[in-house]
């Protein structure tokens, strides 16, 4: 048995301590993989795509040439996805977008983009997950359920591990708060600090916390429990809020309420924010696009210079484009019906190692090596730390980056 140490690209924790032994087309042994990671690795051998045009099997070269032809003939193309591929592929995609005058977008435009943008701009203080492990005594999961979305978050970083200044860990030194509209799996782990909200009440809850911190009577929620929460936050030495999609979608344009809360907490003690980004390299795409254009998502190169506005988000661009390329995403499974339907009715190119609703609807399917398992590269973890990974097994398939370069060269 030869165990290979590798990185899991199953979620944005990018766990680097995975050990696997892959032989004869199966994973014979594995260490440190969570259920999500195990499923991600098992997907190496399931539902793999083949190159097709209109559902008919073709050569890889023919599929790439057809994709190039569709994009070359397009006057307004959309290049969408990017969250589950490497920075190298994202860079190749941005190059392709510039050549085509295309619109580029990822899931952050309708998910956590508003928060990610504030964190990346330094308008909300943040920290690394290693800081969380070493220093944090209070973690607040708000509209987030890491037990399902990032299964090793609590064990590697936020609740269970011993850290440099947290040798007694969750038994005595760490508290975990969950704010959610339902009793999630994570909420059951810390019942004393589970706060249940009605949908859309996150703003009121923030105002109530602020009141409790200031010694006023909270107007929203159970007064006694809100005061208990205020006391916990006041006593915290190093706190971290982990906002999930639930909080971000609830606050939306009222993200200044979170900024005010974090600013108030930092007058009392140290408090940071780390967005619970879902896909393994959303932050890579956001950072790369920001560096190149000044915007984290929803950018059009149609007039040469980058333009950023709501019309360039996938919700709008899916309707206005005349062709689309999807990579590192399955929008037909995840996007609202109207947007998914608009995409499905366009000439669609899907670059994906696996069969999905999007590949089933695509005019052209281009199979790629699984990023992180069959193709190496770099990605940015949810906390902004860059992680480099090597493939754990060989593949005859090209990487996402190689495919994008080939398409660009064929145009």
């Amino acid at each position: 048995m030869i165990m290979t140490v590798c990185t899991c690209t199953g979620c944005s924790l990018l766990c680097e301590d995975i050990e696997v032994d892959i032989e004869k087309g199966t994973i014979s042994h594995a260490k440190n993989l969570c259920r999500k990671g195990w499923a991600h690795f098992q997907a190496l051998f399931k539902e793999r795509t083949k190159p097709t045009i209109d559902g008919e099997a073709v050569t890889l070269e023919a599929a790439i040439n057809k994709a190039a032809e569709i994009l070359a003939n397009s006057k307004k193309s959309l290049l969408y996805g990017w969250s589950s591929t490497s920075i190298e592929a994202q860079a190749a995609g941005i190059d392709l977008g510039k050549k085509l005058g295309a619109t580029l977008d990822d899931t952050s435009s309708f998910c956590e983009g508003t928060l990610i943008e504030l964190v990346m701009a330094g308008k909300i203080p943040t920290c690394t997950l290693d800081d969380v492990r070493n220093y944090a005594d209070t973690s607040v999961f708000w509209g987030a359920d890491p037990s399902n979305s990032h299964p090793r978050h609590l064990s590697r970083f936020s609740y269970y591990p011993r850290g440099e200044k947290r040798q007694k860990s969750y038994e005595e030194e760490r508290s975990c708060v969950v704010v959610d509209v339902r009793k999630s799996a994570t909420a059951t782990l810390c019942p004393n600090y589970y706060y249940r909200l009605p949908p859309g009440a996150d703003g009121q809850f923030i105002e109530s916390i602020m009141a409790a911190l200031d010694g006023k009577i909270p107007k929203f929620g159970d007064k006694k429990r809100m005061i208990e929460l205020g006391t916990l936050l006041r006593k915290t030495e190093y706190g971290v809020i982990f906002p999930g999609l639930g909080m971000v979608l609830s606050l939306q344009e009222k993200m200044d309420l979170l900024q005010k809360l974090v600013a108030r907490l930092n007058e009392i003690t140290a408090f940071k924010v780390v967005p619970m980004v879902e896909h393994f390299n959303t932050r890579g795409f956001n950072q790369l696009l920001l560096d190149q254009t000044g915007f984290i998502n929803s950018v059009s190169f149609q007039d040469g210079a980058p333009v950023h506005d709501p019309e360039q988000s996938v919700i709008a661009a899916a309707r206005s484009c005349d062709a689309a390329l999807v990579i590192g995403s399955d929008p037909l499974s995840a996007l609202p019906f109207g947007t998914a339907r608009a995409l499905a009715q366009k000439p669609l190119i899907a670059i994906d190692p696996h069969r999905s609703l999007t590949t089933d609807a695509a005019k052209v399917v281009i199979p790629s090596a699984m990023c992180g398992l069959e193709a190496g590269g770099t990605a940015i973890r949810m906390d902004g730390v860059k992680i480099t990974f090597d493939p754990v097994m060989k593949s005859d398939l090209p990487s996402d980056e190689q495919i994008l370069v080939m398409i660009k060269e064929a145009i």
Partner: protein, 128 residues
């Protein structure tokens, strides 16, 4: 009997695992095509676990299986796992910015004898 509910979507690790095995598997469909309802709403609908329910709004309509919530009471609030089934009901012309898209889907739920909506049917709707 109908019930008006607000649906909040969420992520589930077991459904994620089933999806990795294959989107068209029975396991993925069974875990995705279901709605978790408060026991009071289940009683109002005369539904037990597994009862087929039509969930519809002005965006779309799907038939899914009922599951009684084990959470504290939450009448008129329902939960669905993020999936192509829940996405059928999500609006993308956000009207109420405080409770948008995926986290506040207004829908009507009613018992039905129709079959659970298949993934292939959802794909057909998108391509139609």
């Amino acid at each position: 009997m109908d019930a008006e509910v607000t649906i909040v979507t969420f992520e589930d690790i077991f459904q994620y695992e089933a999806g990795k095995k294959g989107r068209y598997t029975d396991e993925y469909r069974d875990l995705s095509a279901r709605i978790i309802l408060d026991k009071q709403d289940m009683a109002k609908l005369g539904a037990k676990d597994g009862q087929k329910l039509r969930v519809q709004n002005d965006i779309g309509s799907v038939v899914v299986a009922a599951k009684a919530s084990e959470d504290d009471p939450h009448p008129a609030l329902a939960f669905m796992i993020n999936s192509p089934w829940s996405s059928q009901l999500v609006r993308d012309d956000i009207c109420d910015p405080s409770i948008p898209g995926f986290k506040g889907i207004a829908a009507k739920v009613s018992p039905t004898e129709e079959s659970i909506t298949q993934l292939s049917e959802l794909l057909q709707r998108m391509r139609a």
